[in-house]
């Protein structure tokens, strides 16, 4: 078969045809996969909620979802009794963009647990936020040369970086030690740590209902 000539009609016809076929194919696959994708996202969220509230994966719970500005509050009940609240909070100032965190609180406002839902932080550095802020492991402090800092990174600092069990209401906002707080930032990832703690602090404010001072100009919808 000879190649089609590049006349205006041919070009218009072929490009339109190719695009229409592509559109139909994509619409069909989207139709097939969208329900599965929605189900997977739902399951990921519900297992995240159970994990941050310390509930076993098999237990039956009811979740009442309530959006508050850019946050989402999940009030969790079992057999009609309230057992905890999880707040989904996003901070835009991460090193690689948005950091989305789910934080669980008990009745006194203690942090029961957290889960990093979405992030684009550097692997090996900021990406450790998912584990770092719940481990109480105390690192060792030793002096290292500038060259070895570049190649090996600084050794993890001595001190605590566990936020589970902390109460922002009684103890004030969580801050990294560089900013005068008592939480050790992830080694070589202060920006990630700040963004993460900011998201957690905001989650607490939303939990307490003080939404107005979370984001500039944002107001509570209740």
């Amino acid at each position: 078969m000879k190649k089609l000539e590049s006349s205006l009609t041919n070009m218009l016809l072929v490009l339109t045809l190719v695009s229409v076929v592509a559109a139909f194919l994509l619409a069909y696959v989207n139709n097939v996969t969208s329900s599965t994708i929605a189900k997977i996202n739902e399951e990921a969220l519900s297992s995240g909620i159970k994990s941050v509230l310390g509930i076993g994966a098999d237990e039956q719970i009811e979740t009442n979802e309530k959006p508050v500005d850019a946050f989402v509050v999940y009030e969790v009940t079992r057999d009609g009794n309230w057992i905890g609240t999880a707040v989904k909070s996003t901070d835009k100032s991460g090193f690689g963009g948005d950091i989305e965190v789910l934080v669980g609180f008990d009745a006194k406002g203690n942090i029961l647990g957290y889960e990093v839902l979405k992030h684009a932080e550097t692997p090996g550095l900021g990406a450790r936020a998912g584990e770092w802020f719940r481990t109480a492991t105390v690192g060792e402090t030793k002096e290292v040369s500038a060259v070895s800092k570049i190649f090996f990174g600084k050794p993890d600092p001595a001190g605590s970086h566990n936020i589970v069990g902390r109460n922002i209401g009684n103890e004030g906002e969580l801050k990294v030690s560089k900013d005068g707080g008592d939480i050790d930032a992830i080694t070589a990832s202060t920006i990630t740590s700040r963004a993460f703690l900011n998201a957690v602090n905001n989650a607490y404010k939303v939990y307490k209902g003080n939404v107005s001072d979370v984001n500039s100009g944002a107001t509570s919808q209740q």
Binding site: T33, P123, F152
Partner: protein, 193 residues
Amino acid sequence: MNNWKVFFNGLVKENPTFVLLLGMCPTLGTTSSALNGMSMGLATTFVLICSNIVIALLKNLIPDKVRIPAYIVVIASFVTLLQMLMQAYLPSLYASLGLFIPLIVVNCIILGRAEAFAAKNTAIPSLFDGLGMGLGFTWALTLLGAVRELLGTGAVFGLTILPSSTNMLAFVLAPGAFIVLGYLIAIVNKIKK
């Protein structure tokens, strides 16, 4: 040229990463671990094979002057398809690679092979070219990812091999990607001679 020759051409002789130096963005961006490198390679292989076959079949129907937009539509459709399928059936892989999947559209290996091979050959050799180039890309990315992961975090495919005191964080970051790539290209070229 027979099909196997086409296949091995992409795998070794004209390896897209080490010899043609095509598609450097995903090469450097996704290889922070061996698994990420391999997954990116396989995802690209899938798109490459599909787009090569379709373009080889359609080449006479597409007028020369609009061939690039037509090819891009074909490639972008397969990438979107792959993205939806991965999101639905391989959610954990999608979570770690999601950011890079749409970028396969602009990976110059794919448009490059469409122009250089599929537009001049029939469907079967084009399939072998896509397979060879794709797997060539895959092993290169896996090797690069494995070296960076080993030097940076002491593990390969998540299995810890070296103690954490030998970890060199620089290799997980962008500068390490360039350093490792440079050495690997030098080694591969030495062996090929």
